[in-house]
Amino acid sequence: MAACFEGEEARVMIIDDNEINRELLKNIFENSYKTEEAENGREGLEKILDHAEYLSAILLDVVMPEMDGIEVMRELNARGVQKKVPVFLITADPRDEIVREAYSLGVMDVIGKPVVPYVVKRRVDSVVELFEARKRLLNRVEEQESEIFAQAQRIIELNKGMIEALSTAIEFRSGESGEHVRRIHDITAYMLENTPLGNGLSKEEKEQIAIASIMHDVGKIAVPDAILNKPGKLTPDEFEIMKTHTIKGAELLERIPQMKRHNAFKYAYDIARHHHERYDGRGYPDGLKGGEIAVWAQIVSLADVYDALVSKRVYKDAYSVDQAVEMIRTGQCGVFDPVLMESFLACEADIRRIYRR
């Protein structure tokens, strides 16, 4: 049977138990369509279900042996075929109750016998055209949707790239490679994804926070080289200037209109300003304490301390990971929320892997 359905030319399926009726319809349509025939409802249904994708229209008689037209229609309706291929009921007596049921089952049009060739042709052609236009439109919309999605992805990537570039350029001044910001991003993302700290945040929000973490130190652009890269301990005055990088960073972000409109802005602002606050209220610049410090600022704060400890800096050598964890746990390098600390210690082994990449 498949052989008679080769190719993808437009096809009209004619289902009628009477050969003369079938041939008459075939004669009307064969100039513009290939035709398929079936001589009862059951045969017609089988052919339709096997090859619905090749059919442009179905012409269906009502009174037939084996399975009548309405039964065929019920089967087609149950499978949603009539939404893809228009079905025309061709009947010698369009009785009200049959017509009503046919329409409710999704028949597109009811055409009376004896058929008038140009009327049948015209009515079928118009609906076929409508279905094809609809299909084309739907395909186009799908194409456009995936195009728009791809564009949006590229814009997001570009945004992230710009943010990374800016942050890396600033870190570069203090002798850091791009690795520091990437690690802060990865640690933040990891902790949000894998610990209870991320509870209540959507996937998008977690991604935005991770992007925002990259910008935690942008305020360092306002700190003079001599202080930023001083190998020894800073004087109290120098430290006061160093501390301003939090406020300056938040201000800088606020002044970039594109950044202010970015979904990550509120997190970036918070993180830049508050990543040096301490849980006991003895941090800077605002002396926030406990729950006053947003969880994202706390996470970045801890990630920043951890990364600073295990990395070599102008003013210090690198500590071993175990030493670093011990220093954080015993409160030698800041005071953190016990819940945050617990989450960190629970996943610290996994975070080490970020450093091995």
Binding site: D17, N21, N27, A92, D93, P117
Partner: protein, 118 residues
């Protein structure tokens, strides 16, 4: 098809020009259909079912006959078959039987005329 044939078929209640129109001007196809009509078993099926008082089958047969002769522009037979279908559907069997006699004569006239020429 000559006018003589058309006239003769018209006497049997067949609108030849209407039938040819329905075949989109294809006269040969219409002639083929007329010949094929002689093999249509619906009239016999109808009569047999009426004799056996199997009105459901009779209705189905006469309904099919109605469809075909409508498509072939056999106007008088089409009209009678339509009426009989209506009576049977309304369970008015006597009226159907009475009309069946007239339809039988029309059916015979149609078949005879076709046989005469083709």
């Amino acid at each position: 098809m000559t006018d003589e044939i058309k006239k003769d078929l018209a006497l049997a209640g067949i609108d030849v020009n209407g039938g040819i129109d329905r075949c989109m001007g294809n006269e040969g196809l219409y002639e083929r259909f007329l010949k094929k009509f002689l093999n249509d078993g619906n009239w016999e099926g109808f009569m047999k079912a009426m004799d056996g008082k199997d009105y459901k089958t009779a209705e189905s047969c006469i309904h099919s006959l109605k469809g075909v002769c409508g498509n072939l522009s056999m106007d008088s037979l089409y009209a009678s078959a339509s009426e009989i279908t209506g009576f049977l559907r309304a369970s008015e069997y006597e009226k159907a039987e009475m009309l069946a006699k007239k339809a039988g004569a029309e059916y015979k006239a149609v078949c005879d005329a076709i046989k005469r020429w083709f």
